[in-house]
């Protein structure tokens, strides 16, 4: 009995972690770069499958202060509302960040800035990692929402 129970639980667990794990193939977001604004690319906001180009990866490592009044962070791993609470808490601790609004529908954090101080892309990247998620890319945003 003991062994059979153990085996049953192990089987259930194993199946849960191995099957289906292969997320439906990321029909890679077709978000094509349409223009550049304030040094940040602008994407057509679509699905929850975020992809990063080499340029996106380089940009996320930049330690130069951003320009403009807002940015959109495409974030992976925000599986639930309570999980996401970590992200806006961390973003709001960055100097220069005025608001941080999480959109679970597309998996983004819309960040607006205040004053003259601007965080770098790296600052935002670290905040996302501190929150326990993965930053895929940073794009330009507008104070009123995503561009």
């Amino acid at each position: 009995m003991k062994l059979s129970h153990f085996a049953a639980i192990a089987l259930i667990g194993s199946a849960a972690f191995t099957c289906g794990c292969a997320t439906s193939s990321p029909a890679a977001e077709s978000a094509s770069e349409s223009q550049a604004a304030n040094g940040l690319p602008v994407y057509e906001q679509k699905p929850i499958y975020h992809e990063a180009s080499d340029r996106d990866k380089d940009l996320a490592k930049s330690k130069s202060p951003l320009t403009g009044d807002a940015a959109v962070l495409y974030v992976n791993g925000m599986g639930c509302p309570l999980c996401a609470s970590n992200l806006d808490i961390q973003l709001l601790r960055i100097k220069g960040v005025s608001t941080a609004t999480i959109d679970l529908g597309v998996g983004t954090a819309n960040v607006t800035f205040k004053g003259d101080e601007r965080p770098s892309a790296w600052d935002l990247h670290e905040a996302v990692e501190d929150a326990g998620f993965s930053l895929v890319r940073i794009a330009a945003g507008t104070p009123g929402g995503v561009k």
Partner: protein, 292 residues
């Protein structure tokens, strides 16, 4: 299985149920980030981020049958636990859990009421693996390690000992589905057999907890989503090295908002082979979590 309803067990075995995960694929099930995606009796591989706290208050009621050690007819156990979790680093959190317990033992229609503070549990959770495959889906694994220490209470609620425990938990979020699998081993060094209601005696114990969470609403997240409802189902297995073991099922419902969550669970026996402690009859639990 966080047969925590019982005395000090609470602290010790639930330990991190509240916070939980380590992935041992073959062993089990999984979740994401602030003690989120976590059912009541199974830990998740989620944790508060650096400088963030989570307070989790829970109430548990457990009914136990006749005690083979004392001959009592049945026991009602009421447990209030306070769990504080704090993010130390992006992949490391600390938790402290204090259980306050009330117990009513009935023997020949005579009530024997007692109350006390169970063992206090201190635990570290360290995330060793994270794979975020899209905006929602994620797989995380965390290691658990801690110790439950005597509360100083001498009314049969504390083990009067120091008991280390180690474990692992894995959490997987896949669309509307969430899985948590936790394995936990307790090196019990104290405790009295008479007061053992599961993982509270002197024998070591192994817990294997599995949880499945299904998001019933909203079906799809939108830009205005600020909360989600889940149906949860857990299998909680506890084996003690005195050969006692039992398997329980725990169905429940949970709501997670942006800064808080609440949960309501029931717990029923599936299989019990216990000879050195009272049999578990049923239990209910409710709780609330606040992030700040």
């Amino acid at each position: 299985m966080r047969h925590k309803g019982s005395t000090e067990i609470g602290s010790r075995d639930r330990g991190w149920k509240n916070a939980r995960l380590g992935l041992l694929a073959p062993v089990m099930l999984g979740a994401s980030a602030a003690n989120a995606q976590e059912a009541m009796y199974t830990a998740a591989a989620t944790m508060p981020s650096p400088g963030v706290s989570v307070i989790r208050e829970q109430f548990h009621y457990y009914r136990y049958g006749s005690n083979p050690n004392t001959g009592s007819d049945h026991t009602d156990q009421y447990e209030f636990t306070t769990l504080w979790s704090y993010g130390l680093d992006r992949a490391l959190s600390l938790s402290l859990e204090v259980p306050i317990e009330f117990r009513n033992t009935v023997d020949n229609d005579i009530d024997d009421r007692d109350k006390g503070v169970g063992d206090i549990d201190i635990m570290l959770k360290y995330r060793v693996y994270k794979d975020d495959t899209n905006a929602i889906n994620t797989l995380r694994i965390a290691l658990l390690g801690g110790v439950s220490v005597a509360s100083g209470d001498d009314h049969d609620f504390s083990s009067q000992s120091v008991n280390p425990h180690i474990g692992a938990v894995a959490t997987k979020v896949w669309g509307r589905h969430g899985f948590n699998q936790e394995v936990h081993y307790y090196f019990n060094t104290g405790g009295a057999r008479d007061d053992n209601y599961g993982n509270q005696g002197p024998d070591d114990a192994l817990e294997l907890n599995s949880a499945y969470l299904f998001r019933i609403a909203p079906e799809t997240y939108t830009s205005t989503t600020s909360g989600a409802w889940y149906l949860t189902a857990e299998l909680n297995w506890l084996y003690e090295t005195n050969s006692d073991n039992d398997l329980r099922i725990s169905p429940g419902v949970m709501f997670e908002g942006r800064r808080f969550a609440f949960e309501l669970m029931a717990q029923l026996p599936v299989y019990q082979d216990v000879e050195e402690r009272p049999k578990f009859v049923f239990g209910i639990g409710m709780g609330v979590r606040i992030t700040f």
